[in-house]
């Protein structure tokens, strides 16, 4: 049985471990230490996810595909090179016809800095799945606009906020921030008070928007 295949699954290749070096934690002064200890009811861990869907593709793609489940939610961690294939197969073969969301997470300490996440839903199965992949800063990723039309604005937002390029997107430009803005605010190295001073001065005629 293919079960053995995923016995090496326990390695959590997940990005989640990374962010320990997150912030100076400008946390609330007193409380943390004491109540935190009982707060952890032996936190749940990601478990391997088995389903006919996973088995089918594991044979085909082998180690490029890792399937896990956490708190009852299933996700696939996919090698970047397999992304266009997997997304298309999920839509065409597995009826994941509704692309709920596309987003990204930034882990500056990691070699491949970005997690790109697709959240998919199937009306026929009433089931959700997340697809995740890791890419390096400056790397691009194939656009899925030709798979789900809704990806258009969602990818534009990811580009706007993280600076991730989507190859083949029909009109990849900023969506929430103004066109000439410099920087991508949801990167971790973009401070919360940071702004594009030059843009503000030229376009708003004021020294600072703060």
């Amino acid at each position: 049985m293919a079960e053995e295949v995923k016995s090496p699954a326990p390695p959590p290749p997940e990005g989640e471990k990374q962010p320990t070096a997150e912030k100076p934690v400008a946390a609330a002064p007193a409380a943390p230490a004491k109540p935190a200890a009982p707060a952890k009811p032996a936190g749940p861990v990601p478990l391997p996810w088995t389903s006919p869907l996973v088995e089918k593709y594991r044979d085909q793609y082998g180690s490029g595909l890792d399937a896990q489940t956490y708190l009852g939610q299933n996700y696939l961690t996919v090698d970047r090179s397999l992304i266009p294939d997997i997304l298309r197969l999920l839509r065409d073969e597995e009826q994941f016809d509704y692309c709920v969301d596309i987003t990204a997470v930034h882990y500056p300490k990691r070699e491949k800095q970005f997690d790109v996440v697709w959240i998919l839903y199937s009306f026929a199965r009433n089931e959700r799945v997340r697809v995740k992949t890791q890419i390096a800063d400056g790397a691009s990723i194939p656009s899925s606009v030709s798979i789900w039309a809704t990806a258009n604005w969602l990818e534009r937002e990811v580009y706007d906020m993280f600076g991730i390029q989507f190859d083949g997107h029909p009109d990849l430009k900023r969506i929430l921030l103004p066109d000439g803005w410099k920087g991508h605010p949801l990167r971790k190295d973009y401070g919360i008070l940071q702004q594009d001073n030059e843009w503000v001065q030229i376009n708003l005629g004021i020294e600072s928007g703060q």
Partner: protein, 388 residues
């Protein structure tokens, strides 16, 4: 009743993908701006219209005027501190935003709100759905030229806001829920107030319908205007009443029940043609279904605690979660990544208005300029949520 799986979702969408605009215009073509300051765009939305006379050839939405960086703020606040911020996205349905956020964090922490809190949440959320739909109806009808419904709906929405005010002190941005349950027990007379409201408002909905449903001007302005097929709606990720009016019987309250919704008996109204008129009918029917849910909830509300076992300092374990609810506008989702600290490492909001607005272009091509206003109204967007 089947929850999903309407076979119309299997239709193939033949959406034309956006073609890059040609840099020049034909002699009879014209480009005009609608907004960003325009009373019928419901906020600061700028729509660039490419016209041939009165006919719309294409549109482009320019958004972001209200961008406040809610997701960035979330990364710099604790889970508890961020809770009031979510009310400021879809500010006419603040209770729904709060419900989605609190449930997402609870799920991440693997705790559940006690039953009484769940019932209070359902009652307030459904009241808020009513209020949101009433506001939509009033402004949408006003855009199209019917002034009276605005006064009627605002008069009746006031009663809902009064209940909110008595419950938590705020009318609009309520911050009604806390992670783990509710902060406030219901006030003395809450149930009486809610029941009085139900008997008060049921005939009022008939009154709105009398004004509009068979009104000839209303029919002319809404029938076959802004049609979107089920397949296109699914491809564009459209959710909520807009999707249901196209004939897809899908509602997260039934498909993946949250809070206490699995305990109540209600229907998912759907339309057939996916036009502005059907969306109007669907929302009217939804108001009546909300009344049904509230009535059942208020009659069977259990006794007990209103706060679950949640530590004072919210510190979810390392992990990530996606949780979504059926907000009045569609699927409102929260994707939260926790690094085990008191602040979210990443918090993504999946806003229904943002995704639904993308369908505007498909819906208005070939229509007249005046219809664009009807379609913006029928999409029921709130720019605070589109821009975040």
């Amino acid at each position: 009743m089947s929850v999903h799986g309407n076979d119309r979702t299997n239709d193939v969408s033949n959406l034309e993908l956006e073609t890059p605009e040609t840099p020049y215009l034909d002699a009879n073509e014209l480009i005009i701006n609608m907004g960003p300051q325009h009373p019928a765009t419901h906020g600061v939305l700028r729509v660039i219209l490419k016209l041939d006379g009165e006919k719309v050839l294409g549109t482009e939405c320019v958004i972001g005027y209200l961008h406040r960086g809610v997701e960035k703020i979330a990364e710099n606040r604790t889970y508890t501190m961020f809770n009031p911020y979510v009310d400021r996205m879809d500010y006419v349905a603040a209770v729904s935003n709060g419900l989605g956020y609190c449930e997402a964090v609870e799920k991440l922490m693997n705790v559940e709100a006690p039953p009484r809190a769940q019932y209070i949440r359902v009652i307030l959320t459904e009241l808020n759905r009513m209020a949101s739909h009433q506001l939509w109806l009033g402004t949408h009808a006003l855009d199209i030229g019917a002034m009276t419904p605005l006064f009627y709906t605002f008069r009746d929405r006031e009663e809902i806001l009064k209940i909110f005010e008595r419950y938590c002190g705020a009318r609009l941005t309520t911050h009604a829920f806390r992670i783990g349950g509710c902060q406030y027990e219901t006030y003395a007379g809450f149930e009486r107030d809610v029941k009085n409201f139900l008997t008060f408002v049921a005939p009022k909905i008939d009154e709105y319908e009398e004004l509009l449903t068979t009104n000839r001007i209303w029919l002319e302005r809404t029938k076959n205007v802004g049609v979107i097929s089920a397949a296109d709606a699914v491809a564009l990720g459209v959710t909520g009443p807009v999707l249901r009016a196209s004939g897809v019987q899908w509602d997260l309250r039934k498909a993946q029940p949250y809070a206490a919704y699995s305990k109540f008996d209600f229907e998912i109204p759907t339309g057939e043609n996916g036009d502005t008129y059907d969306r109007y009918l669907v929302r009217m029917a939804e108001m009546r279904q909300s009344l049904r849910i509230i009535e059942q909830a208020v009659n069977t509300i259990p006794e007990g605690p209103i706060m679950g076992k949640v530590p004072k300092v919210i510190k979810p374990p390392v992990g990530e979660i996606y949780h979504s609810i059926e907000a009045p506008k569609g699927e409102l989702g929260y994707f939260i990544v926790s690094d085990g600290s008191t602040q979210p490492y990443r918090l993504r909001v999946r806003p229904p208005s943002f995704v639904n607005l993308q369908a505007l272009d498909v819906m208005v091509r070939g229509l007249l300029v005046a219809d664009v206003i009807a379609v913006i109204g029928t999409l029921d967007i709130v720019l605070g949520e589109v821009d975040r």
